[in-house]
Amino acid sequence: MVVKRAGRLTGLQRDVLSLYRSCLRAIRKKPPESKRNFLIFTRRQFHQHIDISKSDFTTIEYLLRKGHHQLETYSNDGVRNIAV
């Protein structure tokens, strides 16, 4: 889902960006040596599906749900590094 007219964002686009921002905020809390790994992982997860049409609501909503689930799991303090 590529954002072309960045001025007027649709609700779904705002949800995706809000998820990305939450991921970045969670990465800030991670130990400094593994921050880069988490960042690479997050960007990769979002970039994988960049080609989905912005009108394909079911897929985007599914991926948002999956993203929130993963964020909930990985933002646990016990998770200190990720393999990339």
Binding site: I52, D56, T59, Y62, L63, R65, K66, H69
Partner: protein
């Protein structure tokens, strides 16, 4: 194993009179299997003459690795002569022989773990307890539990269900314990009150059959969880009854139940969540 096979080949070339001598010399287990071996040798031609009974299945498929794809129904055919009687046997056979990517939950294969809950021909049951309908003219349709997010194929996402179970605090809560430090005692009559409540295996069949749960999944607890709330409300050893009742004092957690009674109809263990919910409503009112 090798000993019994060699004795079988020897026996087949030996006349019947010397059979007792062979059996007394070989091991007890070997003797039984040689006799059994001889028995199947004669009946195999009769079994092979049976024509295969092909049963058609339509199974819901969706792959999260291709999130843009739509869910679809895939057709399978299974020979019932080569398959166990239960739906789970058929699904495992399909996974073993036809399509290894078919994904489903299973564990005990005897209806006690609750993993294989799915919608078979419109009814939520456990696949390991649901007999295959031997009418070969009908196709059996297998879907995941209705109105649940799907992880893959027949696997539903039950995290919300488990979170709701955690929220009712399904453990014994007491302020004080017996002075002698031994068990919290319970009379036989009080223990009888738990019958029909403790057997719940949390398979989620009843909750996912309730239309009220479909429309209010995040706030209504659902029949399975409410059955367990009642189990703890009616347990004489539990001292947090007032707190438990207080947690239900809102318009959504309990009172979205409109006695549709799909739950009691579909429970694969024969429990009655509808009755338990009615008892909770009664105890809340009195």
């Amino acid at each position: 194993m090798n000993t019994c096979r060699t004795s079988l080949t020897v026996m087949s070339s030996v006349i019947a009179g010397s059979v007792p001598r062979m059996m007394s010399s070989s091991m007890r287990a070997g003797a039984i299997s040689t006799v059994r071996g001889m028995a199947t040798a004669t009946s195999e031609p009769a079994r092979a003459a049976n024509s295969p009974r092909m049963k058609k299945f339509k199974i819901y498929r969706w792959n999260p690795d291709e999130p843009t794809s739509k869910p679809s129904m895939q057709d399978f055919e299974v020979d019932l002569n080569e398959c166990g009687p239960m739906m789970l046997d058929a699904i495992i056979k399909i996974k073993n022989e036809q399509d290894a990517t078919l994904t489903f939950r299973r564990s005990c294969r005897e209806g006690i773990c609750g993993s294989c809950a799915m919608n078979i021909n419109g009814t939520n049951t456990l696949a390991c307890l649901c007999r295959i309908d031997t009418d070969l003219t009908q196709t059996t349709k297998v879907y995941p539990l209705p109105h649940m997010f799907v992880v893959k194929d027949l696997v539903p996402d039950l995290t919300q269900f488990y979170k709701q179970y955690k929220s009712i605090k399904p453990y014994l809560q007491r302020k004080d314990y017996p002075a002698d430090g031994k068990e919290t005692l319970q009379s036989i009559e009080d223990r009888k009150k738990l019958d029909g409540l403790y057997e719940c295996i949390l398979c989620a069949c009843c909750s996912t059959s309730c239309p009220s749960y479909w429309w209010n999944q995040s706030e209504y607890l659902g029949p399975a969880i409410l059955l367990q709330t009642y189990r703890w409300l009616v347990d004489s050893r539990d001292q947090a009854t007032e707190e438990r009742k207080l947690a239900l004092e809102n318009s959504m957690s309990l009172y979205r139940c409109h006695t549709i009674m799909n739950c009691s109809r579909t429970c694969p263990k024969g429990l009655n969540p509808g009755l338990a919910i009615a008892q909770i409503k009664k105890s809340m009112a009195l």
